[in-house]
Symmetry: C2
């Protein structure tokens, strides 16, 4: 499969797990949550129930740490049959606060790749989640100087991308998206006629996984590390 | 004081308590929260402690219902000296979920004023708070057709407005902002050299209030109801 990137003028980067570590922090939080509640259920059951709670609340809370905190609290009430202690509730709040204030940990090659690409392309950040959290992470990352624009979307479906490309007056043929999520960063763009490159992260939230059927016949490349981008564009 | 609006080409509207009811729902929620905890402290003390908790957490959580829910939970732990029941915790989650799902209640004249002004001006919504909540409210309001753009800001300080005007390529001399908060909708714009009109709402969150000193020498008009706009511009 040979994909031609010679038209590309604007490159969009996902942020969480593409530019910096994120999912790992959610995995850590889930571990801590499970230890707090281990007297009530098996670890497996706790993980499952928390995930179900997050999905149930996704329409209401959207993506991000605050919604995750509220879902942990609700799951703790359910899993303990309303016997969970106030100390555990406090510990859950602290898990979330710790997540929000963790320093930004850049992934390999990120700064070098952005520095190089920013000489030739207009770079933008397209991330979903909580507005304040994502703005704070961009600022703490010290990567702002490489980006023309940072957009936080409430979701990453085709219509969200289409509206944004319209608003920023970007031609879909000239746009390339880079990200770790096939579901959120790659497939919606390929479906719109833009280009996308997949850079997998070692862990993916269950909600972001896709089936072979979703990717069948879709034209995109997968690279093992971000620096390979420099050989492609 | 005679203010000349003849340059204006773009009008920005705050949303919460300018286009639709919002603060009232927070007041209702505070009442419910106080009833839930009335066994532990006086109503006045409960109101004060919840407000202090919100301000303490503002940097961490930003504006919006989810942060408010998390602050109610934390305040309940504190106010009860960690004796609050799981039933109360569940009731607090339900207060917040109810706030998120309440229908959008437009304020007087809103639709007529927007319809009229949209014939002559480019209208945009500039709101702060939670991205998903605000997008949902714009959609539920059925007012989208009148707006060229909807921007949710993490805060409404001068720099937030300056960045946005730059991004949307709006000349500060051609911009008029309309809103209920002197602190968030009026003063930052007047300080930037734009025009602003204040339309007070009957209740203002303590955090949004300003002193006479803040408004001294600042040029802006206050109108009693939104429809008076049509006589000014």
């Amino acid at each position: 499969m040979e994909i031609d990137y010679s038209n590309i003028k604007v490159i969009g980067f996902d942020a969480d797990d593409t530019l910096w570590v994120n999912e790992t922090y959610f995995r850590d939080a889930e571990e801590e949550f499970a230890s707090l509640l281990e007297g009530y259920e098996t670890k497996n059951k706790i993980d499952q129930e928390l995930f179900k709670m997050e999905i149930k609340n996704l329409n209401l809370y959207g993506y991000g740490v605050k919604g995750f905190m509220l879902s942990m609290i609700e799951a703790a009430l359910d899993l303990s049959n309303k016997k969970v202690s106030n100390e555990t509730m406090e510990a859950i709040l602290n898990i979330g606060k710790h997540m929000i204030t963790r320093p930004v940990e850049l992934l390999d090659d990120v700064e070098d790749v952005l520095k190089e690409l920013s000489k030739k392309y207009r770079l933008i950040v397209l991330t979903k989640g909580d507005l304040l959290d994502q703005e704070r992470k961009v600022e703490m990352s010290n990567l702002s100087e490489y980006f023309h624009h940072v957009e936080v979307l409430s979701d990453k479906k085709e219509t969200n991308y289409q509206n944004l490309l319209d608003h920023l007056e970007i031609d879909v043929n000239e746009f390339l998206m880079i990200g770790n999520s096939l579901r959120s960063d790659v497939l919606p763009l390929v479906n719109l006629g833009a280009k996308a490159i997949h850079v997998p992260f070692h862990t993916t939230w269950e909600h972001e996984t896709v089936t072979d059927n979703d990717t069948k016949g879709k034209d995109y490349q997968t690279i093992g590390r971000l620096s390979e981008l420099l050989k492609l564009v």
